[in-house]
């Protein structure tokens, strides 16, 4: 509970920072004006540009943090992340295809395509998971699925009609929450909420899987159902994230590890704190993307990868303990 309270406070602080700071520096007077009159130009910057963007980053971060914790618990692997089974690759591929087909301008088409791509891959993985219990087998299938998704995306690039389309796809794939406004959030909330509910439903099963498939199967929990719930839940969360912000790496990998020690390594109790940690991480990453003075604003996926890669190495270092055991 103390951990949750601490994380909620940290998230509130990160969110406040992400509203207060950005590309445009405001004077104290402008802050005062924004607070007294949200309709004023400074108020617009804070509440109509930065706030929805920050909320979007927090939401996507939370979804990825939760999905990452679920995948790590399900696959019993500290290096698993939301995209490990190919879900984000297929979401990205579907979105790339939608852009190429000229659907990018149609409201919600891109988002729907990404979500469908994720669900398609998630469905394939769920069918495979019902047949093969071993996490290693599932990971191998996932790698194949991800590689195929990546290859198809490359094919879309290859056949893309114009350099403009290619640039559009590339930029989208790198992930960003720039220019997101409040109206973008509700369509993503439904799949995310459903995904989160499925993941929390599966939490007990993830904890039981700590001792392996057979102990879990003998625990009396409906493991077959919980396993599918976890997979579909994680796919919904990941797909909705990609539909909202493109492909963003490392948050789903790192967030569970940041909180795991504080919950005694319990995979079930890792879920909610991991979602909060993911929200904090991505909110701060998006803030960095905005305030780092570069000619062209840094893409969110680039920032998380730049800061995430060293963290990934650290995580691998620490996780090696469980492989030796």
């Amino acid at each position: 509970m103390r951990l949750a309270a601490l994380l909620v406070l940290a998230l509130a602080a990160a969110f406040a920072l992400s509203i207060a700071f950005g590309e445009t520096m405001l004077s104290l007077g402008q802050y005062a004006q924004a607070l007294s009159d949200p309709g004023s130009p400074p108020g617009e910057i804070l509440f109509a540009i930065r706030a929805p963007r920050g909320a979007c980053a927090a939401l996507v971060g939370a979804a990825l943090g939760l999905a990452g914790a679920v995948m790590q618990g399900l696959l019993r692997n500290p290096l698993a992340e939301p995209g490990v089974l190919g879900v984000s690759a297929w979401a990205g591929c579907a979105a790339a295809l939608a852009i190429t087909l000229g659907l990018g301008a149609m409201a919600g088409a891109l988002e729907t395509a990404a979500l469908l791509g994720a669900l398609g891959a998630g469905g394939v993985v769920a069918v495979i998971a019902a047949r093969f219990r071993e996490p290693e087998t599932l990971i191998l299938f996932g790698i194949a699925l991800a590689a195929l998704g990546g290859a198809l995306t490359a094919l879309v690039f290859n056949l893309s009609p114009s350099p403009v389309t290619t640039a559009e796809i590339l930029s989208w794939l790198q992930g960003s929450v720039a220019n997101r406004d409040w109206s973008d959030l509700p369509p993503a909330l439904a799949p995310m909420g459903l995904g989160a509910a499925l993941c929390l439903y599966a939490a007990e099963g993830l904890r039981m899987l700590t001792l392996g498939d057979e102990s879990a199967a003998m625990s009396g929990l409906p493991m077959a159902r919980l396993r599918v719930a976890a997979l579909v839940g994680a796919a919904l969360l990941t797909g909705a994230s990609v539909s909202l912000a493109g492909v963003i790496g490392f948050v789903g990998l790192a967030a569970p590890h940041l909180v795991r020690g504080a919950v005694s390594d319990d995979p079930a109790r890792t879920l909610a704190p991991s979602a909060l940690a993911g929200a904090i991480l991505l909110t701060l990453a998006d803030l960095l993307a905005r305030v780092i003075p570069t000619e062209e604003e840094l893409r969110l996926g680039v920032v998380t990868a730049l800061f995430g890669a060293p963290l990934f190495a650290l995580v691998a270092w620490r996780a090696s303990r469980s492989w030796r055991a």
Partner: protein, 277 residues
């Protein structure tokens, strides 16, 4: 009262290879049954098939008087608990949290109390808060056995619970399982240590190439003939001050003086006049 476990003509095929062929026996409550046999005899497959973790081609399995197929996951968990041979644990959870996984359905604080009690029984109560990946193999084996005991199931099935442990820990583990049998549970345990199994178990089932080769009191089931035909050993179980020991040598290798009882009886006390190191 119906048997805790009843196998009738259990047959299992894996990848076109017949692993078990018409195996029938049962385990009563209050009894400790040892399942022994050479590597690859089908012991683990038998346990897994008996619990519904492995598909079977033929035969029937009854748990607590009901056919396995008719049991829900929850009911099966209520009737039987399983300790796999594999001791891998995915996350570094504290020992008591791992053991509490056995006490499914209890409120958290009660499950934790049961867990601590079971850890005490296995003499690792002091390690309750230590992460299972920060433990030695022996400590972890005790924690995992404590998880099995914490289920309180009327049928406890343990696959090689004592393998790879020091002698004292092996004896402790079998003692605790035996205590559960005395308290009314049926215990089925596999072991490669024939003397250890013979000492701890009420009955021994000997599995050989997927078929039941012998079943009965330890001395009868592990007769010199069975030792020879099933295990390729020339020798017998013999009485020693500490209980039964196996005195045997390999049938083919004449030069191997594998007299286990000789070792068991070897004095570890220093000779007269020799100071303790």
């Amino acid at each position: 009262m119906s048997a805790a476990l009843e196998l009738r003509g259990l047959t299992v095929t894996r990848r076109d290879r017949r692993v078990l062929e018409g195996v029938s026996f049962g385990a009563e409550r209050g009894e400790m049954l040892g399942l022994v046999g050479p590597n690859g005899a089908g012991k683990t497959t038998l346990l897994r098939a008996a619990l519904g973790l492995q598909r079977r081609e033929g035969g029937e399995v009854w748990l607590g008087g009901a056919p396995l197929e008719r049991l829900s996951d929850a009911r099966r968990a209520f009737l039987a608990a399983y300790l796999p041979q594999e001791r891998r644990v995915a996350w570094n959870m504290p020992a008591e949290d791992v053991v509490a996984l056995g006490a499914v359905g209890l409120p958290a604080h009660q499950a934790l109390a049961v867990a601590r009690e079971c850890l005490e029984q296995l003499e690792v109560g002091a390690l309750a808060r230590r992460g299972v990946l920060d433990m030695s193999g022996g400590e972890r084996a005790r924690v995992l056995l404590a998880r099995l005991l914490a289920t309180g199931a009327p049928l406890l099935v343990a696959d090689e619970p004592a393998a790879g442990l020091d002698p004292e820990a092996q004896m402790l583990i079998l003692e605790r399982l035996r205590a559960r049998a005395r308290a009314g549970a049926a215990v089925v345990v596999t072991s490669h240590d024939l003397a250890l199994a013979a000492r701890a178990c009420d009955r021994i089932a000997v599995l050989h190439s997927g078929a039941l080769a012998a079943l009965g009191a330890p001395r009868d089931a592990l007769s010199p003939k069975v030792l020879a035909t099933v295990f390729g050993l020339e020798g017998a179980l013999v009485d020693a001050p500490g209980g039964l020991v196996l005195s045997a040598r390999r049938l083919t290798a004449q030069r191997t003086p594998a007299s286990v009882d000789g070792m068991a009886e070897a004095s570890v006390a220093p000779r007269a006049g020799e100071p303790y190191a």
